[in-house]
Each structure stands twice: as structure tokens, then as C-alpha cells.
Amino acid sequence: MTEPKEFQPLDELYKNAFENLPQTPATSGWDLPSDQVWANINTQITSSKSGWTLSTIAILSTICITVAVALYFTFRDTAVPAAPLTQPVISAPPVVQEEVAAPIVAPVQPEKAPVLANPKTKSQHTTTKAPNSTVVQPTAPATTRPKDGASHQLPGTTPQPPNSTEERKNSSKN
């Protein structure tokens, strides 16, 4: 709880002296601040209005540096894995070509077939008829399409006997 204030004559003397001063400054100038005060204030408020104080510049510089460093590391990290990715793409096709090229190696010679237009060589070609794709396919075991939609037999495997269902079907047909 606030105690009641106790004023003494000295307090009253000071209060009256300072509260009842005229609005205009004294002729002696004791209560008039120098012009330099306003000059300093004006400089401060004008510079702060532009917003480019030292602290603002420092904060903006820090943000710019942080962003630049972050961008550098981001792009550096993404650039490193990019190089190895291109290599498998280049090396991969030869591997595939080797597998595919093996059965095609034989028909390479028949590619000279366009020369067949020459009638002199026609007989030679008939005797040594190079296998083309249509001829090669019947010789391959995989081309023997199984009946009744059965699956193809894998090359290098022995043919399996029909299962019981197939046997029943065959027996019923017979």
C-alpha cells in the first residue's frame, strides 16, 4: 500500500520554482539547449529513416554470406554424383549389344544379299544359302511353340513329361 507523501518546505520550494516557469526560455539562456543538440538529433533520425544503419548492413551481409555458402554447398553436392551417373549409361549398351549380337553374328554374311541382284551369283547363293532370320528361328529350340498355350521350354533344359492334367486330356482325345 502506498504511503501518503510527506512534503517539506524544501520540496515545495523546488516544486514551485520549477513548475511555474514561463513557457519561453529565460533571457539568460540557462534552460535553452544548444543548437548542436537538434543537429545531432536530426542527423540520427534522418539516417535511421533511410534504414541503412550499421546493424542493418551487418545483418544483411550475414544473410547474403550464409545464402551464398548454402548455395555453394548445395550445388557442389549435386554436381559430384552427376559424373558417375553418366558413365554407366555409356558403358551399359555394349553389354546389351554383346548378348543380342551373338545370334545375329551368323546372319552377317547374308547381309551381302543385296548383291543377289547379280544373276551370276544367284546360283551360289542358292547352294550356300545363308540363314536369315526366318530360317534360323525354326532351328532354335525356343521357337517350338508348345501346344495348348503351354509355356516355352527354356533352352538347355530337358523336356518335361506332361503333367497328369495333360495326360488326361491326351488320353481323352485319343
Partner: protein, 181 residues
């Protein structure tokens, strides 16, 4: 000089209008300087306080609520500015047991020949240690209670009371001496 209303000054300062900024300073610099002279030890320190105080006023003008008078709001900022200046002084709240060194400072012909106007009373007040001066100003002239002084200055109520007692004793001694002479 054109007199502006508080509302005009506030809106002008908030817009950054230089005319209103200058007008605000011209209208309030003298009364605020008188307040700060009571808290400062000399004119130079009062001018520093005035400069810092007005910069705060322009910066914080957006926080002013029109319910109260603009002059009262500016005065509170000035008193707070003065107290933060005083708190930085090493001898803030120093106790003075022996008044002799301070009495000697006012034994000049000018001091004894003066009458008790505000300027003379100010000279006596500025001889006080900062803590005495601040508490006496706030209690006797600005109307603060001991609770408010303790809160604003970061001291106990007991310290505020003892500083006020010592300030009064100090001032009485000075004034008595000047009258006797």
C-alpha cells in the same frame, strides 16, 4: 512560431515529415531540457540526455496512445532516459557522510549573492550525488511515490527513503549557509 496540436505532431512525425519533426522539438525541447537539467550534474550532461531522449521519442512515436497528453508521454521518456544515464555512473547511489567537499564547491560570490530562483536552486541541486538528486527530483518535483522510484531505479523502498532524507539534509545545509552569509 506555428503551434501544432498533439495529434498533428504525432501523425506528422509518424509520416516522417521534417516540418513536424522540427516542430515537435521546438515545442517540447525547453520544458524537457528543464526536467533533464534537474537530473544532470551539468548542462552538457543534460544536453546528452535530451538528445538521447528525443531520439527515443521519434523512434517510439508509434507506441504513443492518444488517451494521454503527448507532453506527459515525452516527459516519462525523458525521465527514463535520465535514469539510465545516471545508472551508468560509477558513483550512482553513493552515500555522502561529510558534506564539506560539496559545501566548498558553492562558496562563490555568485552563489551567495543569488536569490532563490529556479536557476539558483538548480545549481544547488546539481551539487548532489546522482542518487540523491534523482530521488529528490522524482519525489519532490515529479510526484513519484517511493514504490515507483524503487521500481524505476531498481532499488529498495528503504534506499529510496534514505536517499531522499540525505538529499533534503544536504540541500537545507547549503541553503541555510547561503542565507546566513
Amino acid at each position: 512560431m506555428q503551434q501544432w496540436t498533439d495529434a498533428e505532431l504525432v501523425s506528422g512525425v509518424l509520416r516522417g515529415n521534417p516540418t513536424h519533426q522540427t516542430a515537435l522539438y521546438k515545442q517540447y525541447s525547453v520544458p524537457m531540457f528543464r526536467v533533464l537539467l534537474r537530473f544532470a550534474r551539468d548542462r552538457a550532461e543534460a544536453e546528452d540526455m535530451l538528445q538521447d531522449g528525443f531520439i527515443r521519442v521519434y523512434r517510439d512515436m508509434g507506441q504513443f496512445r492518444s488517451e494521454g497528453a503527448l507532453g506527459g508521454w515525452i516527459r516519462r521518456i525523458m525521465v527514463n532516459t535520465a535514469l539510465s544515464h545516471l545508472r551508468k555512473q560509477r558513483d550512482f547511489l553513493r552515500d555522502v557522510g561529510d558534506f564539506t567537499p560539496f559545501e566548498n564547491q558553492i562558496r562563490t560570490e555568485e552563489d551567495f549573492a543569488s536569490n532563490m530562483d529556479a536557476e539558483t536552486l538548480l545549481k544547488y541541486l546539481q551539487k548532489l550525488p546522482p542518487g540523491y538528486r534523482a530521488v529528490f527530483n522524482m519525489y519532490a518535483i515529479d510526484g513519484f511515490s517511493h514504490e515507483e522510484i524503487a521500481e524505476q531505479m531498481g532499488i529498495t523502498i528503504g534506499t529510496s527513503k534514505s536517499q531522499l532524507f540525505k538529499a533534503r539534509e544536504f540541500l537545507k545545509k547549503i541553503i541555510d549557509k547561503s542565507f546566513i552569509s
